[in-house]
């Protein structure tokens, strides 16, 4: 078991290194110089290039970059968005906003998704189920940015209930909370529908299983049997859709944050790409990579813990 974890962990580190290497080369192979700025005088430009070791061969540069990252956690300094500032510092400034927004959307999405999925499964084939299933298809198919636009149009132009954009410096907390409502709803619709769809599928399977029949024969009421047996068994597979949502809390949604001008991680990534602030882009991409790899790792490990049959790492399909 321990060996299995270790193996997965090593694989994760290898992948991470691969991403780091790939990002470095991609960014350096781009045609433009990192400091494409006519306002900077040639001497300063040269000083900067020397400081960043840009006159050395690429392999040596790569060595500097890797050792900087590994020993000091130094991803370099921003050159366009906040010139001169350490990129990690910029990122840490943005993390809380994104986390609060994503956490709020999960608090909305998980319970509602579980509720909707359960109701749909219990009322299978009835009007309620058809309605919920229809909504699930809509929420899964229609892109989140379309919903974001729709919400923004309806609730800020037609019925001006909420602010158009995310407010950073509002006078009252109430205003900030009000400005968070639309992005949170836009963020939660997709996860909500995903959870509901999986849970509905799993529950329908559990409800028609033999252990449910046994539970009813033992004298449990339908409600008791559903809660104690069917529901609990269905939650195991659902964990695999919920874990990425929870770990994904750090990385903001790129498009939603851009639409509502949220000063979070996703918006920062979009800005850094558009501005060509490559050190910042690399650091952000690394952050997204670490999150996603950790998620895969946690899911793998949780599989092993939840289901002993998967515990052995090799061979079996």
């Amino acid at each position: 078991m321990f060996k299995y974890f270790l193996k997965r962990f090593a694989a994760m580190l290898v992948t991470l290194f691969l991403i780091l290497t790939l990002s470095f080369w991609v960014i350096r192979l781009m045609p433009l110089s990192i400091f494409e700025n006519p306002d900077i005088s040639p001497e300063i430009q040269q000083k900067l290039e020397e400081k960043m070791h840009l006159h050395e061969p690429m392999v040596v540069q790569f060595g500097y970059f890797i050792s900087g990252v590994l020993t000091r956690g130094d991803f370099g300094t921003s050159v366009k968005i906040r010139p001169g500032m350490d990129v990690l510092e910029i990122i840490w400034e943005r993390v809380p906003t994104t986390m609060i927004l994503n956490a709020a959307s999960l608090i909305l999405a998980i319970p509602l998704g579980i509720l909707a999925g359960t109701i749909a499964a219990l009322k299978r084939g009835k009007m309620t189920d058809n309605l919920i299933s229809f909504l699930i298809v809509i929420f899964i198919s229609v892109p989140s940015f379309v919903f974001a636009s729709l919400l923004q149009y309806l609730f800020t132009l037609q019925w001006p209930v909420f602010p158009t954009l995310y407010l950073t410096h509002a006078s009252t907390t109430g205003q900030i909370v009000a400005s968070m409502v639309l992005p949170v709803i836009a963020l939660s619709l997709g996860p909500l529908a995903t959870i509901a769809r999986y849970l509905r599928g799993e529950l329908i399977e559990s409800l028609s299983s033999e252990y449910m029949l046994l539970a009813r024969t033992k004298g449990l009421t339908r409600g008791e049997a559903v809660v104690a047996h069917a529901f609990r068994n269905s939650l195991v597979p659902i964990a695999n859709t919920i874990i990425p949502l929870i770990t994904g809390i750090m990385g903001g949604s790129l498009v939603i944050e851009k639409i509502f001008a949220v000063p979070g991680i996703g918006g920062l990534l979009v800005d850094s790409i558009m501005a060509g602030d490559h050190f910042l882009t690399v650091a952000l991409l690394m952050m997204y990579s670490v999150t996603s790899l950790l998620t895969i790792f946690i899911i793998d490990v949780s599989y092993g813990i939840i289901d002993p049959r998967i515990r052995i790492g090799g061979g079996q399909e």
């Binding site: 991403i19 298809v137 198919s141 379309v146 636009s149 923004q152 800020t156 132009l157 979009v270």
Partner: protein, 384 residues
């Protein structure tokens, strides 16, 4: 019963000629199991056609494809044709305009009442009605309903069904041209992924052993790369454009298909018909592609169908973060994101791309669901 061809028992020799028909050409059902003797895919196709939602989705998808091919040809506008004088003209549609929807009018807010009478700014007949008059910091102002077609001097009888954008380009032409490009990106990337995935997965699954281990580990390493990160990196490297989008969607896109194909091969390669073919000396190439693949293809079809809407989504997503198609070429994502930036002033510029992408995505997802149900072997032979 074993009989000699030259000494057939009388009851067999007397069988009428019309009974000797291939099973699949026989119209009536099997008397015992009450099913038709169709091939698996015929059966699946019939079940798909029985499903009303699937048929509707197919119709919607075909309709959108037809519109995407036709509209840019017959609309009368070029998709990059600019006319700055006619910018941001609201939509006007022949029949609906009588009902007051899409009639080419726009409420202009906060103009001086005297300006409305100035015919050099507001030509004769352009102001339909003054909605309300009020005073802002001592000055009189009013909201007026203006016929933008008269206001901008659009020639009589000329219609912009979906309006125009900030450069005066016809949105309908651009939208359907954009649909063409988005669908092209989706189809090419999905087909490329399918081909790479099937070949890779087939080889890994068919040969097994060391080949499988090496190929699977290689795929696993690539698969560990987060999708957003890889796509963004490749778009940065290659620059915006259709080819780069297709390439960045194929870098890791094929892995899922490869894994599925490999699993299918593990399922089928031990079957008797493979053994039979092998003992007849069929070369590996034919075993892989002629004997096993046709049987393994069911789940691959479903997967491919699901990949189409997600490729369309990815294209729009890239457009939103500024890495999409090169302007002035349109795509659904480009139109959506440029509409989003003027959403509060000209909502119709977002409305039409948003409706189109939503309908397209729902139709493809419904179709994929229908295909999955139709190709489910446990449903085999069911007529309901």
């Amino acid at each position: 019963m074993i009989v000699d061809r030259d000494h057939l028992p009388q009851e067999l020799a007397d069988l009428p000629e019309e009974l000797f028909v291939r099973v699949k050409d026989r119209p009536e059902m099997d008397q015992v199991s009450k099913v038709r003797a169709d091939s698996f895919y015929m059966d699946a196709f019939r079940r798909l056609m029985k499903n009303r939602v699937s048929v509707l989705s197919i119709c919607v998808v075909l309709l959108i494809i037809a519109l995407a091919l036709l509209v840019p040809q017959i609309s009368g506008y070029g998709y990059t044709e600019q006319n700055v004088k006619l910018k941001n003209i609201p939509p006007r549609i022949p029949v609906l305009e009588k009902l007051g929807i899409a009639d080419g009018t726009r409420t202009v807010i906060g103009v001086k009442p005297s300006a409305l009478n100035n015919t050099s700014r507001y030509p004769e007949g352009s102001v339909l009605k003054v909605l309300r008059t009020y005073t802002v910091s001592g000055k009189e102002a009013c909201d007026a309903l203006v016929d933008m077609y008269v206001f901008a001097g659009v020639p009589e009888g000329k219609y912009y069904f979906f309006g125009t954008d900030y450069l005066g380009r016809d949105i309908m032409t651009r939208l359907f041209k954009g649909t063409q490009i988005s669908l092209l990106i989706a189809f090419i990337s999905v087909i490329t992924n399918l081909i790479i995935g099937v070949v890779y997965g087939s080889v890994a699954g068919f040969y097994g052993g060391t080949v499988d281990i090496v190929l699977s580990h290689l795929a696993e390493v690539l698969d560990g790369l987060p999708y957003i990160v890889v796509t963004i990196l490749f778009m940065l490297l290659l620059g915006s454009g259709m080819f780069s989008i297709i390439l960045s969607l194929t870098i890791t896109g094929w892995i899922g298909t490869a894994r599925l194909t490999r699993a299918q091969y593990y399922r089928f390669k031990g079957r008797e018909y493979v053994l039979a073919a092998r003992s007849l000396g069929v070369p590996d190439r034919n075993l892989i592609f002629r004997h096993i693949l046709p049987n393994a293809i069911g789940p691959l079809i479903t997967r491919t169908m699901i990949a189409v809407p997600s490729a369309i989504f990815s294209e729009s997503f890239l457009a939103y973060i500024g890495l999409g198609i090169k302007p002035p070429e349109p795509s659904i994502g480009v139109l959506l994101s440029s509409g989003q930036s003027v959403l509060l002033q000209y909502p119709y510029q977002t409305l039409f791309p948003a409706i189109l992408i939503s309908v397209l995505m729902v139709a493809f997802n419904m179709l994929a669901n229908g295909l999955r149900d139709a190709l489910d072997p446990s449903e085999r032979g069911r007529l309901q």
